[in-house]
Subunit: 354 residues, 2 copies
């Protein structure tokens, strides 16, 4: 994974930078907020990991045979990163997160501006501007994507895929918000389904499928990549849940137990709840959703997870996802080097420690 990022990050960054610079010029003719929002977006987008964009480039190269149209691939990669940043801007308003990528979240930056100007309701001003900034990012991404130079049929397929997957991300986001408000346990199936659309298809399937469409790959290949992406992404997310409970702060680079504090519905949480007896449930319900949990509380959760054999259950889920991914990757009509890259991403997701 890191190799994929390393290879493509630099070219992505410089493309995004010059694209946003040109937009800043266009937007300046509208009003003073044009260059303002672009400069904030620029800082925000370029600070991201750019995973999705790099996967577009990787996939476009993988399926391009001899003619690799880098300009097209960079446009698609930049479009997905713009949308991703815009979704995060809205997400931070929804989750009331004031920090993102090491800096104040966009709504927070506008809140600070309003506060400096002495506006009343500066919090609402910040959220309002954040909503607008995200909306602008969505439109910019679609504008950029529409400038890709492809035969009409492939271009329609690309735009349709992009926007329909993003609709699904929006629906999965609604489901996720609702889960957080729910006190009751939710089914493993519902959680995996949420992972499928909010993380897996969006982070892995969509970029790889976009790259393949740009390279002119056939529909069957594109659909296979969609399924591979689902497997890769669900593994990634389950490992994320595991690290959030079992890693330590130093290795992970962020605090442990946030999901427990937020009563986030994870696969660990749901299996734990459904396997616990009444007295264990009583203990767990005092811990999940409690903002003031201690390290001892986290240890209690860990212990019950181990006692109940939840690890083994989850390992078997991951194993079947892994096997499915391997089978599908083997079926792709690509060279050994490309196949190896996909296997490396699979291995990275399986072994991730941060």
């Amino acid at each position: 994974m890191k190799q994929v990022l390393l290879e493509h990050r630099l070219s992505m960054k410089s493309f995004l930078e010059s694209f946003l610079d040109s937009k800043s010029e266009d937007f300046s003719s509208v009003n003073e907020w044009g260059s303002d929002v672009i400069s904030r977006l620029k800082g925000f987008v370029l600070n991201g990991k750019l995973v999705r964009g790099c996967l577009v480039l990787m996939s476009a190269k993988m399926f391009s045979n001899s003619i690799y149209d880098e300009e097209n691939a960079l446009k698609a990669a930049a479009a997905i990163e713009l949308v991703h940043s815009s979704l995060l801007i809205h997400d931070d308003i929804i989750d009331k997160d004031d920090l993102r990528r090491g800096s104040p979240a966009i709504h927070n930056q506008y809140e600070e501006y309003a506060s400096k100007e002495g506006f009343k309701n500066h919090k609402h001003f910040g959220a309002s501007f954040g909503i607008c900034a995200g909306d602008i990012g969505f439109f910019m991404a679609n504008e950029l994507l529409s400038s890709i130079n492809l035969p009409e049929h492939n271009k329609s397929a690309l735009l349709k895929l992009f926007n329909s997957e993003l609709c699904n991300v929006g629906l999965a986001e609604m489901q996720d918000i609702n889960f957080e408000y729910l006190k009751d346990n939710v089914s493993e199936e519902d959680i995996i389904n949420m992972y499928r659309f909010k993380t897996a298809r969006y982070t892995f399937s969509l970029p790889m499928m976009m790259g393949a469409i740009i390279a002119g790959a056939d529909e069957n290949t594109v659909n296979k990549l969609g399924l591979i992406g689902e497997d890769l992404g669900i593994i990634f997310q389950i490992k994320d849940d595991e690290l959030g409970i079992f890693s330590d702060e130093k290795t992970l680079g962020k605090s442990i137990g946030i999901d427990i504090k937020d009563n986030k519905k994870t696969v660990y949480c749901t299996l734990l709840m459904s396997d616990s007896n009444d007295s264990e449930l009583k203990i767990l319900k005092n811990i999940f959703g409690n903002k003031n949990i201690t390290n001892e509380d986290i240890d209690t959760v860990r212990r019950i997870i181990i006692d109940k054999g939840i690890h083994e259950k989850i390992s078997s889920r991951i194993k079947s996802l892994e096997l499915e991914a391997i089978t599908l990757i083997d079926m792709l009509n690509i060279d050994d080097n490309s196949r190896n890259i996909l296997f490396k991403i699979l291995k990275y997701n399986l072994d991730r420690t941060s």
Copy 2:
């Protein structure tokens, strides 16, 4: 204008209805929020005036000569109406408006759901779901637009225009929000510029340009329609401001003086402020932005507007917009019937009483 709406509203409504029904089916495979959000959007979109969509259809027909592709035109019309409803959903969160089109605003509907479920922070839940619902609408609109059957060059132009104008709407919305928070007067130029991008180009230019592109009109014609739309829309908005101060509740169908209460920066407000002396300014500043203004206060504003000759100033602005529109409409290469329709829209905007 009413004629244009009458002619096209029915076919638009039935197209939108069956499109949303098909989306409801697609979305149901994601999660239970899929059909939920579609059913709310359906009620919301179909309740609108559908002005923009009808203008797309009018323009597509006007420039199509013999071959009018109704399916394409309906898709573009539906796309702009979907985006419009989605922008209103976000707008209602920003303006904290709980009612829209005679029913609870979308964020308000979700707030009610959260309240019934006994969720804490049901207001924030409602806003969060409203943000997601709007986002989904934007992506759906772009997906629909990408399915239009046009030569690659025209299709790119259509998608580029659509999304770049919507970026500008977002920037104008930011400007408008900032204006409302500002205590100081803003320049007439800034206000007209805000009207240009937030109302005129978005409500009149964009739909007419989209219709013309679909019909295969040349670039020069499309650009002329853009300018005509600016004139039509700025006239429409200034008349709106006038009615908001000088009409009566019965004729207008909504309460008078809201813009004054909200300290909304209108052309009337800015000309009034810049032409007033210190003692008049003192009176006006106690009225503008005061949520408890009386009918007498509104009468005071009206009297100063008349005394200062603001009406005459604004009439001369409108006159030159009207003349420019007439010149441009005369230059269009269309039949007399089409030209008459455009003149009727101009006349409607000039004479509107509600």
